[in-house]
């Protein structure tokens, strides 16, 4: 599978840059060592290669369909998911007491990355289940865990997330699904849900829908939303799935990409016979959902990254093999054509892909490392960075979701371009990867919503403490880089960019304080891109420091080439992309109102 994931890069980021092994010094993770981490990734790569990747194109051509009675999915999907479950991936991050292996989330992100790269559509089923299981693990009662969570971890029940409705996507305030109490913590659910991934299929014995709904008489707006467990089939005596719970499939949504993950419109309680179990307390549903959503958003960003990464690997291989044209200085038409990787413009496109995807992968893993640090703190371990960790994660989440889904999609576009007409044809996987990746800017909160979250909430919360924490950590890397003469210039340009981002932030928050809230947020997307570039540059500077130091040691030719590639990609990002921060910062500082003052009727 070397053609869809670079193991070397994954190891470099996990072990050399992020020192994930250090987590094993804490009691919670001390059952592990580097060997077990690598073995987990080995198994993931193997299963991804043998069970996920081979049917990715077939599933895209032949997506799930409704035959009038059931949703039919090509059988390879069930085989792949079975292998995933049997190998123990669903339980990996859970506590040992629950039969899990207390695997750090950073290593879990790494194995998920492998499955995304191999076949994101098939990976969708178990990964959705994992997300739903995580939520139940945190918020459900012991009884609910026994009835629903345990079968999910066994792979007998799959999970979904039912937030969106036809009229309410970004704005969950406006959901209309209702839940009427009928006693014993049970509620009658009625309403329509839209876009539900994994909403109906026969891959599992039962489906556990986690549904957001409003209890009549509750507070208005998002404060009146509660969370319910709504199984497709009610549970009989022994916990086995029994009669239908009145969850009806209205239809399948046909999509541009991610075609293998069945997407459904569902009707809950058409016959007034749909029962849901309240999770946690009434009206706290959205908060519980968001707890999970942070991880889900980091996961979406990682998915976007890996689709970009897979496209990069394919186009890189192609560029080494495909012969076309001659070097500009070669005047002899009879000479052999060169491999297209010899053309500077092709290398530009490859470097852009490398810089975006390897920078974003580091960010996805970095966020996962922050989650691990908070697990250590929760488990009573002491870490100086306790509170800072949470703040940083909050701030980085919208960036980790939105930046890769823009720039790694751009990478997929370039992968097609590198391969010319062949890239555009369905003979090669890069056009599919592009279509698949297009989703990531839309779901789990559109990128527009992420930008509002970043600037409107995260940057301003606690008087800007999160941004301070971020800049503090970036400065620490800058200081480290400056100790190395070869990296001084690079470090300085990041320092300058941080200053530019900070001044744009000041100008914007000043406007907010003057009450110009609409101006403050009008260009939030530009802000996200700007701060995103600063963060990715930081990710590259960290990589450059490690690469620089390793190069000074004893390395073989192969390793040297790898490390030089890291430094060159860092240079590319700093020279081609980071300078955009200056322009964006100046632009944001002007509080431009072009979009705000444009009138709908002027279009």
């Amino acid at each position: 599978m070397s053609d869809i994931i670079s193991r070397k890069d994954l190891d470099f980021l996990l072990f050399d840059c992020l020192d994930v092994e250090k987590l094993t010094e804490h009691e919670y993770f001390n059952g592990h060592n580097r060997e077990t981490f690598e073995a987990v990734i080995d198994t993931a790569i193997r299963i991804a290669r043998e069970k996920f990747e081979p049917h990715a194109a077939k599933l895209d051509h032949d997506p799930p369909r409704f035959d009038g009675t059931q949703v039919q999915i090509i059988e390879e999907v069930a085989e792949a998911v079975d292998a995933f479950v049997e190998a123990g991936f669903l339980r990996a991050v859970f506590d040992v007491e629950q039969g899990g292996m207390q695997l750090p989330y950073s290593v879990a992100q790494a194995f998920m990355a492998v499955f995304y790269a191999a076949n994101c559509s098939t990976a969708g089923y178990p990964l959705l289940t994992l997300a739903a299981a995580n939520l139940l693990d945190t918020h459900a009662t012991e009884d609910q865990k026994r009835l629903f969570l345990e079968p999910m971890l066994e792979g007998r029940f799959f999970g979904t997330m039912c937030l969106s409705e036809p009229q309410a996507g970004s704005s969950l305030t406006d959901i209309t699904t209702v839940a009427e109490p009928i006693g014993d913590g049970r509620y009658k659910i009625r309403g329509n849900k839209m876009w539900i991934s994994g909403g109906e299929h026969e891959l599992s014995e039962n489906i556990v829908h986690l549904v957001l709904a409003k209890i009549p008489g509750g507070p208005a707006g998002v404060k009146g939303i509660s969370l319910f467990i709504v199984p497709r089939y009610r549970l009989g005596e022994s916990g086995k799935s029994a009669e239908s719970n009145d969850v009806e499939l209205i239809g399948l949504n046909h999509k541009m990409g991610f075609r293998g993950t069945v997407n459904t419109a569902l009707n809950f309680g058409e016959n007034d016979d749909c029962v849901g179990w309240l999770v946690g307390e009434e009206h706290y549903g959205l908060r519980y959902m968001f707890h999970m959503m942070n991880e889900a958003r980091v996961g979406v960003g990682l998915g976007a990254t890996m689709l970009g990464h897979a496209g990069f690997q394919h186009s890189l291989k192609y560029a080494r093999d495909r012969r076309q044209g001659r070097s500009i200085t070669d005047k002899n038409p009879a000479s052999e054509p060169v491999a297209i990787i010899e053309h500077a413009d092709v290398r530009r496109m490859l470097l852009a892909q490398k810089a975006a995807t390897e920078g974003a992968l580091m960010l996805g893993l970095y966020c996962a490392r922050l989650i691990d640090e908070s697990v250590v703190v929760e488990a009573g371990g002491d870490l100086e960075s306790g509170e800072e960790t949470g703040l940083l994660l909050e701030l980085l989440t919208p960036i980790a979701k939105a930046w890769p889904s823009e720039f790694c999609l751009e990478a997929n576009k370039l992968a097609i371009q590198v391969m010319g007409g062949y890239g555009y044809s369905s003979e090669y996987p890069v056009e599919r990867l592009y279509r698949d990746n297009r989703l990531n800017a839309i779901h789990e909160g559109t990128n527009g919503i992420q930008a509002l979250d970043l600037l409107g909430r995260k940057v301003t919360m606690k008087n800007g403490a999160a941004l301070q924490a971020l800049l503090g950590r970036v400065n620490a890397t800058i200081a480290e880089a400056k100790e190395r003469p070869e990296l001084v210039e690079t470090a300085k340009s990041l320092e300058v960019a941080c200053g530019q981002a900070a001044s744009a932030t000041m100008a914007l928050t000043a406007a907010a304080m003057e009450g110009k809230v609409d101006l403050f947020l009008a260009n939030a997307s530009v802000y996200l891109e700007m701060l995103g570039h600063v963060v990715i540059a930081w990710m590259w500077l960290m990589q450059a420091v490690v690469a620089h130091d390793q190069l000074a040691g004893d390395v073989d030719e192969e390793r040297e080439a790898f490390l030089r590639g890291k430094l060159q990609a860092c240079q590319y990002f700093f020279r081609w992309e980071l300078p955009k921060v200056k322009r964006q910062s100046e632009f944001l500082g002007t509080l431009d109102d072009t979009t705000l003052s444009m009138k709908a009727e002027w279009f």
């Binding site: 060997e35 077990t36 690598e38 073995a39 190998a87 991936f89 039969g99 292996m101």
Partner: protein, 248 residues
């Protein structure tokens, strides 16, 4: 029942092998390694037999310290303990068989299950040579194994079809690729493997002189295959097979 199975750490067969310019060996820089795939069938069969008949699976590797990784993988699949006979030398099949014979002398297994060959050197010799050193019966290229009352009934892949052979245990079985579908090293298995015993010995400890009897003169890459050609029709094909290729 005590089952001994063997694994070899080999260069990843999916990678392109390059030969050193002086033809003294292959380039090992940047090369990735994995468990010999025929050994995976052997390990799987050993574990399946243990599951059916009880007992213990001991997995043995002869190779560099890094081969502990392949041994841990075999233990993550389900083997109970491992023995590494550590050496950085590139052994010939005869030396491997003599080392194994010593290990067998210590362990006294009821049956030995090995891959039929290693995918790096493709020699397919060790099980047979080991059979002669131990003076044990052997059934090679197994696609099916059944054990009953101290005998193994082994379905074998042979030229032109299959054959069944019954051998008295203790004996040696070498695995072919239709034998089973090797399981993946599961995550709980990986955690268990970490705590399973792994003993490290050297050929010296076993009193084996591993000096090679086979002398490798040099390494050469096979000739590159030329591009194929499209023929116009069947007649053309037949003529060319007759006249040019001279195969019919």
């Amino acid at each position: 029942m005590k089952i001994l199975t063997t694994v070899k750490r080999v260069t990843d067969p999916d990678m392109k092998v390059r030969i050193q310019p002086d033809q003294s060996g292959i380039v090992t820089e940047g090369v990735e390694y994995k468990m010999n795939s025929f050994d995976e069938y052997g390990v799987e069969e050993a574990i399946t037999l243990k599951e059916a008949h009880g007992g213990e699976v001991v997995v043995v590797s002869i190779g560099p310290g890094a081969a502990t990784k392949e041994l841990r993988t075999a233990m993550a699949m389900g083997a109970d303990r491992a023995i590494l006979v550590e050496t950085d030398a590139d052994l010939d099949s005869d030396a491997v068989a003599r080392v194994l014979a010593e290990v067998v002398g210590r362990e006294e297994p009821d049956v030995i299950i090995m891959g039929k060959q290693a995918v790096d050197s493709d020699r397919s010799q060790t099980p047979q040579i080991l059979g002669s050193y131990l003076n044990w019966p052997q059934a090679t290229f197994a696609y099916k194994v059944e054990i009953e009352d101290g005998w193994a009934v082994v379905g074998r892949e042979v030229d032109g079809g299959t054959a069944t052979k019954r051998i008295k245990l203790p004996g040696i079985i070498s695995a072919d690729l239709r034998l089973n579908e090797p399981r993946y090293a599961s995550l709980p298995g990986i955690m268990k493997a970490k705590r399973k015993p792994l003993e490290t010995l050297t050929p010296d400890d076993l009193g084996v002189d591993i000096a090679p009897k086979v002398k490798v003169l040099n390494y050469e890459a096979p000739e590159e295959r030329g591009a194929g050609e499209m023929v116009d029709d069947v007649d053309d094909l037949i003529n060319r097979l007759k006249d040019e290729a001279r195969v019919i």
